[in-house]
Structure formats: structure tokens, C-alpha cells
């Protein structure tokens, strides 16, 4: 493993997490092992002290009953019975600590504590190991000193063994935790790395790339799925944006070119003919106004779609708005020798922006008078489940019914008629702001545009 990869491992969050876990684990293991050591060792020491105490009590009682003779007999008996490995220490001295009887030859030089306990060095054994003893001193009737103790060597070896085992166990635990943390973080890192690699590739421009999915359904798979869904969404949106901007560029090029032509021919117009000049300027202005209008419509649609602000909303009757639009368009239809019929079967009230709805219906009526042939009928209808505007024009082919709502989309057969291709986009944007759905149906002949609440079932059509 290179230095760089160690560095990156140390930086990784999972490794740090594993490290923290490892420290926590080790500390608890340490506490547990210390407790085991402490309770075992302390128990053994207490056992030793209790044995010594019992011995002293026994010897003191013997002295009480049988005097010095009894005591020495008892000690002597104990000493003679002692096995070579036995480790009890006895020493009886006179008032001046001169040894009288025992298996050590001199009173310990170390001062005893108030309870008479003393720990002292016994000396080395044959193999050079240092033995020490724990003993209790006892003053017999103020005349003799009795020392009873135990060689602590065995006990200390056991304690050392326990200590060593525990330390070794601790080291193993620590090592295992370290290894586990390392493995864990490496496996997590590997999954994260796949995701990161895929993300970087996507960021570098390859939007078709997707994050691999292992199929185990775990959290990483869920994360991958969510990210992939998000990417699908982004890709679809970007496609939409690209299409719209392509269309804008394409569809605004024509009027801009016309505007340019007009200005160019104006600049080449010889001076003097003021009438012709004025006409050209007016044509150029009309072209510029048309462009501004298209941009305004685009902006309005974008705003309507972007934020559903409903500041201008108030309760209104849709039939009234539709009636106003029909009234506005009646003279136009009359001029085209078309008939307009308004049917208000029932009231349709909603909370909305009457200006926006008026504009949406204006676009619908505008289309209707544009595409209905002379003597044709335009029907506007308000019923309980919605509003419809039907013309008797050429209609829209089934396969193009979804597309007509796209900005700048125009049915091929209508390309020659004036229009921006934004009318139905705006209708749709206004409708969705009001939780209405726009549906196109056939009127045989002609087209029906139906606005109905999103939740409603398909409404009957006349």
C-alpha cells in the first residue's frame, strides 16, 4: 500500500468511524480485563491474609492454653510437616528479636504497618528467582515475637500470568478491531468509490453514464437508484431546455432576419421618398413588436411554470370569463362569417387569476377563429366538469396532440398561417397553475380543447 493510499484511507470517514469504534472497543475490553485482573488478584491476596490470620489465631490460642512450650511444639510440628514446596513462613523470637524457632533466620528489617502486616524479601532460591513474603507479626504476651507469613512467589507468578494473558488478550482485541475496521472501511470505501467514479464521469459531461447497481437492495443500491432517478430527471429536463432553446433560436431567426432585411432596404432607400421610408420604418417596428410579444409570451409561460405564485387569485366563475372572451371575439367571427355559440350548462367556480384565464381563453378563441372555415361553427361550453372550446377546423392529428403544447410547436398544415406557436403552451401553463388539465379531443370535424380539474374523470363531450 502506497503512502498516498494510506493518507487517503486516514482521511476517509468510514475509516475514522472504524477507528473510533476500535478505540471504544479497546477501552471497554481494557476496563473489563482490568476488572477481571483486579478481582482475581485481590481475591487471592485476601485468601492469603485470611489463612495467615487463622494461623496466628490458632497459635495464639495454643500459647494461651499450653504456654511457650505448647506454642513451640505447635510451630515445630508445623515446620516438620512442611513439604518442600510449601511456603508458609514461621519465626518465633524473643523480646530482642533473637530467633528461637522458625524457617527463616532473621526478623525482617522492614517496619510493619499498624496492623502488623509486613512484606519483605525472602532471598533468592536456587534458580536465582527473587522470593518475597507477606507476613504478620504478633507480640505474644509482651515477651515473644511471632511472625507468620507466606512466600508470595507462587501467587505472584499466577498474578503475573493472569496479567500477561490479559495484556496479550487486549493486544489481540486491539489488533482484531484494527483489522476489522480496516476491512469494513475498505469495503464501504469501495462501494462509495464506484459511486464517486461514476459521478465524476457524469460531471465531466457524460450524462448518459449511470451509477452501477449491485442488486443487493442495500442502502448503497438505494442511493444509486435515487441518484440514477435524479440523473434521468435532470437529463429529461436538460433535453427539454435544449429543445426549447433550439426552437427559440430557430423560430426567432425568421422574424429577426425579416427585421434586418427591412432595416437594410431602409438604409438603401434613396432620400426624398418620405412616404416609403415611413412605411418601411413602420414595418420594421411591427416586426420588432412581434418579436417583443413573442419574448413576453415566453417569459410569461416560464414564470407561470417556474413558480406557482397565486397572489392575484380570487374566486371567480369561469363561465363569465369565457362569456367575456366570446363577446370579445364575436365581431371577429362575424367578419369571418363564422358562428359562435356559447353554452353555459352550469356554473363553474374556482379560485384563480381572471386576467390569466382570460388570456388563455383568448388564445383558444384566437385559434378557433383562425382555423374554422367560413360558415363553420365555434362552440364554447361550460359544464359541471369543465370548459371546452370546439372549432370545426382541420383538427390536430392524433400523434401530434401532445406536441402542440410544446413551445413553438406548430402542426405542419398550419405553418403558413400567422402565429407564434406559443398559444397552447400558455394555455397549458395557465391551466396547470389553476390545477386544471388540458385535453385535446376530436370534434369531427375540428378540435375540442377541454379544460377540466386534474382530479376529474374524463368528462362527457358533446
Amino acid at each position: 500500500m502506497s503512502f498516498a493510499s494510506i493518507k487517503s484511507l486516514l482521511r476517509s470517514a468510514t475509516f475514522r468511524l472504524a477507528l473510533i469504534y476500535m478505540v471504544l472497543f479497546s477501552v471497554s475490553a481494557l476496563v473489563l480485563l482490568s476488572f477481571i485482573y483486579w478481582s482475581t488478584a485481590a481475591y487471592m491476596s485476601r485468601q492469603v491474609d485470611a489463612t495467615i490470620d487463622a494461623e496466628i489465631t490458632g497459635l495464639a490460642e495454643r500459647y494461651e492454653t499450653d504456654g511457650l512450650r505448647g506454642l513451640t511444639a505447635q510451630v515445630g510440628e508445623r515446620l516438620s510437616k512442611q513439604q518442600p514446596g510449601d511456603s508458609t513462613v514461621y519465626l518465633l523470637t524473643d523480646n530482642n528479636y533473637r530467633p528461637l524457632l522458625g524457617n527463616i533466620n532473621r526478623w525482617p528489617q522492614v517496619p510493619a504497618d499498624t496492623a502488623g502486616w509486613v512484606t519483605f524479601r525472602l532471598g533468592d532460591d536456587v534458580s536465582g528467582r527473587v522470593h518475597s513474603a507477606r507476613a504478620r507479626a504478633f507480640l505474644v504476651r509482651g515477651r515473644y515475637h511471632l511472625l507468620v507469613g507466606r512466600d508470595m512467589y507462587e501467587l505472584q507468578s499466577i498474578q503475573t500470568l493472569i496479567k500477561r494473558t490479559l495484556v496479550l488478550g487486549g493486544v489481540f482485541t486491539f489488533a482484531l478491531a484494527l483489522l476489522g475496521g480496516f476491512m469494513m472501511s475498505r469495503s464501504v470505501n469501495r462501494r462509495l468509490d464506484t459511486i464517486n467514479r461514476a459521478s465524476r464521469e457524469i460531471m465531466s459531461g457524460n450524462l448518459n453514464q449511470r451509477i452501477p447497481h449491485r442488486g443487493s437492495g442495500d442502502e448503497f443500491d438505494q442511493l444509486s437508484d435515487n441518484l440514477n432517478n435524479m440523473l434521468d430527471q435532470i437529463e429529461a429536463l436538460m433535453d427539454g431546455v435544449r429543445r426549447v432553446s433550439d426552437n427559440i433560436a430557430h423560430d426567432l431567426r425568421t422574424p429577426l432576419a425579416r427585421l434586418r432585411n427591412r432595416l437594410e432596404s431602409l438604409s438603401m432607400q434613396p432620400p426624398g421618398d418620405d412616404q416609403a421610408r415611413r412605411e418601411m420604418v413602420e414595418q420594421a417596428l411591427a416586426e420588432a413588436d412581434g418579436l417583443l410579444g413573442t419574448f413576453n409570451a415566453l417569459l410569461r409561460i416560464a414564470r407561470l411554470e417556474a413558480d406557482a405564485r397565486r397572489a392575484g387569485f380570487a374566486p371567480l366563475e369561469l363561465g363569465q370569463v369565457l362569456a367575456d372572451v366570446v363577446e370579445l371575439y364575436e365581431p371577429v367571427a362575424e367578419e369571418n362569417r363564422q358562428r359562435v355559440e356559447l353554452v353555459r350548462e352550469s356554473e363553474f367556480t374556482l379560485v384563480g387569476d381572471r386576467d390569466l384565464l382570460f388570456q388563455a381563453f383568448t388564445n383558444l378563441l384566437d385559434n378557433a377563429v383562425k382555423y374554422t372555415p367560413p360558415e363553420g361553427l365555434i362552440r364554447a361550453r361550460v359544464y359541471a366538469a369543465g370548459v371546452s372550446v370546439c372549432d370545426s377546423g382541420p383538427g390536430v392529428p392524433e400523434r401530434e396532440k401532445d406536441k402542440v403544447f410544446q413551445r413553438f410547436y406548430r402542426v405542419d398544415s398550419s405553418r403558413s398561417t400567422p402565429g407564434s406557436g406559443l398559444g397552447l403552451s400558455l394555455v397549458k401553463a395557465v391551466a396547470s397553475l389553476h390545477d386544471l388539465r388540458v385535453r385535446l379531443t376530436d370534434a369531427d370535424p375540428g378540435l375540442c380543447v377541454v379544460l377540466e380539474p386534474v382530479a376529474a374523470d374524463s368528462a362527457p363531450l358533446s
Binding site: E282, D289, G312, E327, L328, V332, D353, F358, D366
Partner: protein, 224 residues
């Protein structure tokens, strides 16, 4: 008339000032909100044109302060913010009309003249007259040179608005706002058709036309 323009964009301001001066008006220009407020409060203008986004003091605050100081000069708000609630905010603050940028100069001029005229006509009228054309607002009848003219209710309201602003240019957007009471920019010729219908009723059988089309701007009702 005397007009104050409070607008920080030099190009827009220059364009408005030049146009209004050519139309025969006296125009002052303030490039920031503070100067604008001081001028507007001190000088007797006929109408103020105030941009919404201004350095130092924004347009709505200027209007609120002016109204607070009992200055009742009509105000036209000029703004790039064109949503319904922006318009409502502007009118609530004390503005009298609202025009969204970009705008046609003819639209601005027409609206300014309408604002000043509205401020002048304070007394309620019951009769309107332009040359031989007479309108009785009580009996809701119209006649020209003594001959009754039969109008639909909407045509009546259209003519009433034109007569109240006779001699001034009114734009299609103004008509849609005032006669139909809907606020939006009509992209179609639908208003023209209503005007030509009205024209056929009031002008057709008479020697001198009263209702004229002003190319690139709108319409005007006048005696010559």
C-alpha cells in the same frame, strides 16, 4: 404639461425625455430616488413617471412618501416587474397607472395624457360631446347630428371611453383594461374589429370621420 421622470437608466431616461419634449411637454429628469422625491415634492408637476428600481430610494417608497406628504400628482409607475402582484403592489402604494418595460413610447404618452386628463375632470358628467356626436350617460343614448345611433352595451362603453379621452391617443391595451376590464397585452387584432364596427356606426353615414387610427399606437376620437 410638466412632467418629472425618475429613472436611473440613462438610455431609457434619455429616450423618454427626448420623446416627451418632442411631443411639446416640459420634462425634468432625476436619476436617483432621493433627488426625485425632493423634486416631486417641491415642484408642481402635472404627472410623475417613476421607475420601481432606483438607487437610494425605491419607486414605491417615493410614492408612499409623496402621498404621505399630501402630494396628489398622478403617478405612472414604470417597471420591469410585470406580474399581477407587482402591479397590485404598485397601485396599492399610491400609483395611478402601471407600465411594464419594455414599452412603446406611444403607449407611455397615451397613458400620461389619460392620467392628466383624468386628474382634470373631477366633476361627474352626464353628457359627453365631440363635434356633433353626443352621448347621454343617464339615458344611455348616443346621437350624431340629431340622428340616434343604436349601440350594443360594449360598444357604448368603448365609445364612452374614447369620448372621455377625445383628442388623446388611446392604445389597444388601454382599451382592453378600461373597457373590458382585463389586464393583458393583446397580441391580436381583436380590438381593431370592435373599433371598425363602432366606426361603421358613428362615421359611416357622415362626411367627416371622428374615429381615427393612429398607426403604431392606437386610436383617437377628435373633431377634425
Amino acid at each position: 404639461m410638466r412632467i418629472l421622470i425618475i429613472e436611473d437608466d440613462q438610455e431609457t431616461a434619455g429616450y423618454i425625455v427626448k420623446g416627451l419634449k418632442e411631443a411639446g411637454h416640459a420634462v425634468d429628469h432625476a436619476a436617483d430616488g432621493q433627488t426625485g422625491l425632493e423634486l416631486g415634492a417641491a415642484e408642481p408637476y402635472d404627472v410623475l413617471v417613476i421607475d420601481r428600481m432606483l438607487p437610494q430610494l425605491d419607486g414605491l417608497t417615493i410614492i408612499e412618501r409623496l402621498r404621505g406628504a399630501a402630494v396628489t400628482t398622478p403617478v405612472l409607475i414604470l417597471s420591469a416587474l410585470g406580474e399581477v402582484d407587482d402591479r397590485v403592489d404598485g397601485l396599492k402604494a399610491g400609483g395611478d397607472d402601471y407600465l411594464v418595460k419594455p414599452f412603446a413610447f406611444s403607449e407611455l404618452l397615451a397613458r400620461l395624457e389619460a392620467l392628466v386628463r383624468r386628474a382634470e375632470i373631477e366633476a361627474p358628467v352626464t353628457r359627453l360631446q365631440v363635434d356633433g356626436l353626443e352621448m347621454d350617460l343617464l339615458s344611455r343614448t348616443v346621437s350624431r347630428d340629431g340622428r340616434d345611433i343604436d349601440l350594443q352595451p360594449r360598444e357604448f362603453r368603448l365609445l364612452e371611453y374614447l369620448m372621455r379621452h377625445s383628442g388623446q391617443v388611446v392604445t389597444r391595451t388601454m382599451l382592453l383594461e378600461k373597457v373590458w376590464d382585463y389586464h393583458f397585452d393583446p397580441q391580436t387584432n381583436v380590438i381593431d374589429v370592435h373599433i371598425s364596427r363602432l366606426r361603421s356606426k358613428i362615421d359611416k353615414d357622415f362626411d367627416t370621420p371622428l374615429l381615427h387610427t393612429v398607426r403604431g399606437a392606437g386610436y383617437v376620437l377628435r373633431e377634425y
